[in-house]
């Protein structure tokens, strides 16, 4: 019955749709047929060029098709046309090769000028880093210390046809990019996972966001307004659902907005310190989940196995809280699961984890507070600090110079415990998946590279990041062991303080610490 009703509705919609094709509908009136003229110098140049080539093409088409239709109408056999005998003429061939060439030259000159204009990203007033994620954008105001994510704000219900669609269906976001008018804005476009493309037609910008590379683009927006765009490079399931909204404001409004962002940041910090009730967490969690997690794991928590596992009844969502927090904060390397530690606020993270642990019959009745997240994040710091006692011990250990023998003994112990499963006790590994350490360029190369490899792992491979798994002393011991065990003890000694300096260099990019270790 329900099905029949839905079919009827669908049929009705189809008929209406068909009719609207034939009859000019109301929507037809404001339907855009041509390229937008846009609001930047680049988009104007593009529009002018577009119109120029368009008319050139129209002219060529009229001439070419004109001659053709003349022949079709006049030279038909049914009208008694007798075929002529000519079939070669070098002069004509040369003419119709040269004339198009000249037309191309005429087109190429302004096009080259426009390219030079597009390429000129120098002397920008504002720098904004745009990072593509599956499937959202992050904006980073490099001069202001403001970063945030911009997600699709159209509800899943609208997409699933369960709610009427809004005017800006699929072209609306929770946090638009806000920029001032009449300032040269330089966009630094990159991505974290796959290639995306940041496209705002009115700005005349389309730039591929390539993971590992930064590409530049620029815009000087001429008038305040809201300009919408979309990701233009297929980037997976959510490719159609990561729009871009740019709000251009006057300079005063823009400055007010910047101030507002800074105030909000303080408020957020305050929110993270308070204790939230279960219902508050569940409400915020559901919202955050549907916005951030549901694309892959689905609103129902069923996921899309095997690529996107179900959360409903999953060992992570019903197992120990710490592991759940860990995977949400740091992602899972080699999979589509991203690290959300910097994408969401502590409050949102706490809420979403609480939600996942209690929704869809995962009734663990655990609640995770923002403060728990802060603690978990704190463990990323160089010195793992799960208990007070251990922390003291580690602090003392780190500063001490260890004798080589002690490091080697402890290193062998830890190596056999953590590394030998893959790299084997004899260091030969199991190539190609688990490379040999005996011949490795890292183990035999500079100590910094070796340490970094152990600390940070190799994304996309089985090599994990060990910086949070082991304390600096153990890490130093393992690295020392690896550098000396199979290589006639030539590798030198790595002390815990070297590890700490690499960790700090990693986190804060302090050149002093790096200099020391050299």
């Amino acid at each position: 019955m329900e099905f029949r009703k839905r079919c009827c509705q669908r049929l009705q919609k189809c008929i209406v749709g068909l009719l609207s094709c034939i009859l000019p509908s109301a929507a037809m009136a404001d339907m855009q047929l041509n390229l937008t003229r846009g609001v930047t110098p680049v988009s104007h140049a593009q529009y002018d060029l577009h119109m120029m080539i368009f008319w050139i093409c129209v002219a060529i088409a009229v001439v070419v098709f004109g001659v053709m239709f003349y022949a079709i109408i006049r030279h038909r056999k049914s009208k008694g046309a007798k075929p002529a005998q000519f079939h070669e003429n070098t002069t004509v061939e040369i003419i119709w090769a040269v004339v198009p060439f000249l037309i191309l030259v005429v087109m190429a000159i302004p096009a080259t000028k426009a390219l030079v204009l597009i390429d000129d990203t120098e002397n920008a007033d504002i720098n904004i880093k745009v990072t593509g994620y599956q499937w959202k954008w992050q904006y980073d105001y490099m001069d202001e210390d403001i970063q945030y994510f911009s997600n699709l704000s159209t509800s899943q219900d609208q997409i699933a046809n369960l709610a009427p669609k809004g005017v800006h269906y699929l072209l609306e976001v929770d946090h638009p990019l806000v920029v001032p008018v009449n300032k040269k804005i330089r966009f630094l476009v990159t991505a974290t996972d796959v290639i995306h493309s940041w496209w705002v037609p009115a700005l005349g910008i389309k730039r591929d966001a390539v993971p590992g590379f930064i590409h530049e683009s620029w815009a000087t927006i001429e008038k305040p307004g809201v300009y919408r765009g979309q990701c233009a490079e297929l980037c997976g399931v959510g490719h159609g659902f990561m729009p871009i909204v740019v709000v251009a404001k006057t300079q005063e409004d823009y400055e007010a907005w910047i101030q507002e962002q800074k105030d909000q940041k303080d408020e957020q910090k305050a929110a993270a310190n308070k204790t939230w009730t279960d219902t508050e967490l569940m409400d915020l969690g559901e919202k955050t989940y549907n916005k951030t997690c549901a694309v892959c794991h689905q609103t129902s928590g069923q996921g899309m196995p095997p690529t996107f596992p179900a959360l409903k009844g999953s060992p992570i969502a019903t197992g120990p809280v710490s592991e759940h927090i860990d995977i949400v904060l740091h992602g899972k390397s080699g999979t589509a699961m991203q690290a959300f530690a910097n994408q969401l606020s502590d409050t949102e993270l706490a809420a979403v984890i609480t939600y996942e642990r209690n929704a869809w019959g995962n009734d663990t009745s655990d609640t995770v507070q923002p403060s728990d997240i802060a603690v978990a994040k704190g463990q990323q710091a160089p010195m793992p600090a799960s208990t007070q006692g251990q922390m003291e011990k580690v602090t003392v250990d780190v500063d001490k110079e260890y004798p080589k023998e002690e490091l080697m003994t402890q290193g062998e112990d830890k190596y056999l415990q953590y590394c030998s499963v893959c790299h084997q006790a004899n260091g030969q590994g199991m190539p190609p998946t688990f490379p040999a350490l005996t011949t490795s360029t890292y183990v035999n190369g500079s100590a910094e590279d070796h340490i970094d490899r152990v600390l940070n792992g190799v994304p996309g491979t089985a090599m994990q990041a060990f910086k949070q798994q082991l304390n600096p002393v153990d890490l130093a011991a393992i690295v020392t062991y690896e550098r000396n065990a199979w290589n006639d003890a030539k590798g030198g000694v790595v002390q815990p303080k070297d590890i700490v300096s690499r960790l700090n260099g990693d986190n804060k990019q302090q050149s002093t610490a790096q200099g020391e270790s050299k």
């Binding site: 094709c21 680049v42 577009h50 368009f54 088409a61 038909r76 046309a81 003429n89 046809n161």
Partner: protein, 527 residues
């Protein structure tokens, strides 16, 4: 007839006779037929996928499938149409026609020919089987950009890789066969400049295939090692570069585009003179233009990558090189029109398809000219404008030329005339609906609709509805084509050897249908 008699000398079980005839055949005509039927089957499969895509896009909101299924469909539609429908169709035409056009008894390497074909059904079985695998079929578009296809690809990507390898091997062997046949097996007296223009087109295409299919093989192999053996060709974190993939892919991909269109030029250049009752205008320029397009195709690949962050110098170089392609392409169009000019035109179905080809391909070529303009490509790139452009050159371009060729040579193959009425219905419905489908896509692209999205904003609704209606019209019209083929094979007015009043060339000296073995002794070409 006599040919049949030699084939099944001892009485065999019908099934084993069928098996011997079709599976073990080394006869160029049989293999040509197999290629053509295979291509038809793939055309219909890819077409059904296109209709599913258009159904999903009929109106905003997710309608009949999940976004991932949508991505599976666009990927499979592209791969099947390019590698399964268009390329095998031209190899089929080449197999059928080249030996009887150059007066050879068969292709140069008949057994290789058999293997080239029989790799394809297996390759596509593997490819299509991914639709039923856990994790779904490849979902990264037919261009399979890394890292979406490497780190983020579904498990079935490995099956896709092996299928692409098999297609590549098949194409290379087919191409080697064409080159060897055209260069070595021409009848005495047939100099290269007397070679039928279709053979020239296939020869040049074959060289392109031999040059670029190994590049594609390299690309998918690098993907495979990135996925499983810890290399980082396309992974910046390991010192690689995702853009490298695009360079390699398009170094294959752009010549690939011409692999799909140069044979079409050849077919059209055969048909237009026949129905104009006039020799092809500027034969040597046509050959030269085809060769120039082929050579230029190797230095324009990065025009697919204008927004990928290539440096200014590269943008300018690739823009100029791309614009340059308009010159030889223009020469071809002008020559076709001049061939028609002051001819004695008649409008049988093959000629209608050929004329539609010239017009609609030119429209596709002109939008190509617009796309070549790098600064504006910043707006066109990856939008429906591009989708409209390449469907104009591929559907009323490549596909129409194949249809034209089939109508043109079908009487020669089967010995029966097809039904002209059905043929004309097929032509007019196809031509009208193709424009209803693809023309609105230009507007959608200009208005800002990105390609490869499963759902879209409200302002794109009307044109998408129009396109969907057109797609169903075009799809259903192809049922007429099936009817034409079925009826013509089963019977019809017997065709003469000449078939068409204005037809010239060795193939028209053979009786219709062509005997199973032809030109056992080579004919002598005198004129």
């Amino acid at each position: 007839m006599s040919a049949e008699a030699t084939l099944d000398q001892p009485k065999r079980h019908p099934l084993s006779a069928w098996f011997l005839r079709w599976v073990c055949s080394t006869n160029h005509k049989d293999i040509g037929t197999l290629y053509l039927f295979f291509s038809l089957a793939m055309f219909l499969t890819g077409g059904v996928m296109a209709l599913l895509i258009r159904t999903e896009l009929f109106q905003p909101g997710m309608q009949i499938m999940q976004p991932n299924t949508y991505n599976n469909m666009i990927t499979m539609h592209g791969l099947i149409m390019v590698f399964g429908a268009v390329m095998p169709a031209f190899v089929g035409l080449a197999n059928w026609m080249i030996p009887i056009m150059v007066g050879a008894p068969d292709m140069a390497f008949p057994r290789l020919n058999n293997w080239s074909f029989w790799l394809l059904p297996f390759a596509f079985s593997i490819m299509l089987s991914t639709l039923f695998m856990q994790g779904g079929a490849p979902n990264f578009g037919w261009t399979f950009y890394a890292p979406l296809s490497t780190t983020y690809g579904p498990p079935s990507t490995d099956f896709f890789i092996i299928a692409v390898h098999m297609m590549g091997v098949s194409s290379i062997m087919g191409a080697v066969n064409v080159v060897a046949t055209v260069l070595n097996m021409r009848a005495p007296g047939m100099t290269m400049m007397k070679l039928p223009i279709f053979c020239w087109a296939m020869l040049i295409t074959a060289f392109l295939l031999i040059a670029v299919m190994p590049v594609l093989a390299g690309a998918v192999t690098m993907m495979l090692t990135d996925r499983h053996f810890g290399t980082s060709f396309f992974n910046a974190a390991g010192g690689g570069d995702p853009i490298l993939f695009q360079h390699i892919f398009w170094f294959f991909g752009h010549p690939e585009v011409y692999i799909m269109i140069l044979p079409a030029f050849g077919v059209i250049s055969e048909i237009i003179p026949t129905f104009s009752r006039k020799k092809l205008f500027g034969y040597s320029c046509m050959v030269g233009a085809t060769a120039s397009i082929a050579i230029l195709s190797f230095i324009v690949w990065a025009h697919h990558m204008f927004v990928s962050g290539i440096p200014l110098g590269a943008e300018i170089f690739f823009m100029y090189a791309t614009l340059l392609i308009a010159v030889p392409t223009g020469v071809k169009v002008f020559n076709w029109i001049t061939t028609m000019f002051r001819g004695s035109l008649s409008f049988e179905t093959p000629m209608l398809f050929a004329i539609a080809f010239v017009i609609l391909f030119t429209i596709g070529g002109l939008s190509g000219l617009m796309l070549a303009m790098s600064p504006v490509d910043y707006q066109y790139h990856d939008t429906y404008f591009v989708v409209g452009h390449f469907h104009y050159v591929l559907v009323p371009g490549a596909i129409f030329s194949i249809l034209a060729g089939v109508y043109y040579w079908l009487p020669k193959w089967t010995g029966h005339m097809y039904s002209e009425t059905l043929g004309k219905w097929h032509f007019w419905l196809s031509t009208i609906f193709i424009n209803v489908t693809f023309f609105p896509m230009h507007f959608l692209g200009l208005a800002g609709m990105p390609r490869r999205i499963p759902d879209y904003a409200l302002q794109f609704t009307d044109f998408n509805m129009v396109a969907t209606v057109g797609a169903f019209g075009f799809g259903l019209s192809q049922l007429l084509f099936l009817a034409v083929i079925y009826k013509t094979i089963r019977g019809g007015v017997p065709a003469t050897a000449q078939v068409w009043e204005g037809a010239q060339g060795l193939e028209w000296t053979l009786p219709s249908p062509t005997p199973h073995h032809t030109f056992d002794t080579p004919p002598l070409i005198t004129d």
